[in-house]
Symmetry: C2
Subunit: 252 residues, 2 copies
Amino acid sequence: MISQPPLHRLTEFLDLTAPEMDAIIGSAGPPIRVPRGGMLRREGDRVDGIYLLHEGWMGASMLLRDGGRQLVKIHLPGDLLGTPSLCLTTAGETLAALTDSVARLIPLAAFGRLFEEHSRVAACLMLSVQKERLALIDLLASVGRSSAIERCAAMLLDLHDRLEAIGQLHDASFDFPLTQEQVGDLLGLTSVHVNRVLRELGQQGCIARTPRRMTLTDVDALRRLSPYGRRRFVRDPGWIPAASATRDPVPA
Amino acid sequence: MISQPPLHRLTEFLDLTAPEMDAIIGSAGPPIRVPRGGMLRREGDRVDGIYLLHEGWMGASMLLRDGGRQLVKIHLPGDLLGTPSLCLTTAGETLAALTDSVARLIPLAAFGRLFEEHSRVAACLMLSVQKERLALIDLLASVGRSSAIERCAAMLLDLHDRLEAIGQLHDASFDFPLTQEQVGDLLGLTSVHVNRVLRELGQQGCIARTPRRMTLTDVDALRRLSPYGRRRFVRDPGWIPAASATRDPVPA
DNA sequence: CGTGCATTTGAGAAGAATCAATGCCCGTGG
DNA sequence: CCACGGGCATTGATTCTTCTCAAATGCACG
């Protein structure tokens, strides 16, 4: 028994109507279970749609020619996965399960129909993608222009804030399934150095770690460490027409 | 006398119809001239639309709390500027002219209308944004997981390929208005180190520099140095409906 | 009770930053 | 015409962050 798909990432900018949400839900295929370590999509696979993540953490990563790996995004439930590859013939990113996960495919055809028939949903998708792009910009700024400890602080806060939004945060404490190597691949560091930095953060009293669990014991100190602040997102942007203006109004 | 806006970034995935292109062109405001060093938009400004760059090079950058600056994108003519801020109340990036530039504002309202009335244009915009996102991913991988020389090679190739697409490349040689500090801000390096690396590339015979001009004397060697290959983009993706299927068909 | 993965720790090396000075080009104003 | 100043490029010397290599430890799991 699979619960309804989490759509908070699509309704965070705008309240969608029931028909609009039904259209989204209806466009998704059956649940796909991916065990920890499994792949939902590999770089080079044919692009057959995008994915909506129901449960679990997944990582989007890119392989480099020298064998290195750049983790591009830690995806949490509700995220849309694989959208960057929409403009490619062959997937540009690997989607790997960091925990046991469940996702659903939204096939290209269904995505196209959604786009054509529900312009407000299309607008929400656009905003969602822009938000992802900003996250990428923040990560880039962090990797390009900050010290290792600042990057770690920013990453922990990012997870903190996003987990809070989906109710998976309890007293600034959350499940933390990432290995130090994965953190390194995300932040442009070695696992060895991640280890030292996390210990340093622990000694400063900013965080407390137990296996697979992370507690931010001094969120304010972490925010001071972080190289950038929190973004303020729009709500009900004026340029998206009100629901009643939607095409094909369904008669009551 | 301002020439027609360059729309190659919007038609590279799909041929648009004349009415669709007219709608885009019609949505843009009057040309805005920005002298080298001037700002089109500052971080924190109110978001009133996006911009279409006609002429010149512009940089999108983000300021860090410690005073550092991350250059996020070097924009060339035809690019859409400022789209990441669509989901923010207040601009998240500064748009600064790297050369004398000309841009046009597409106001939010016009953008919304475009989205609502021309779903194929909306789809093209989505693909365009995804392409930008991939560029950001590539940059991130480069900054996070490659040496300084590899990053420089990748940046030079990126400019090479994009300038080629707009006919501003002559025998692997192009106008290069970036200061070494700006390159450093883009690649996560200091200007001092950029200088050394560029000299190294020169000594290896990969590039030749004269003031404000760059020549790639060994493109293949640079491609071997670059941490990633070229992307292959879709053309006429099946999920976007054919032009005749567009709503509001204009009677002949 | 091995086995395999992840974390932890140490020592040394390397890449890039920092600090500091110099030179060059070019526009400005005396 | 020339002195001056600002921005940018270049170079050297030194420091420091982070990587690399290596090994030990701990822990989960069959």
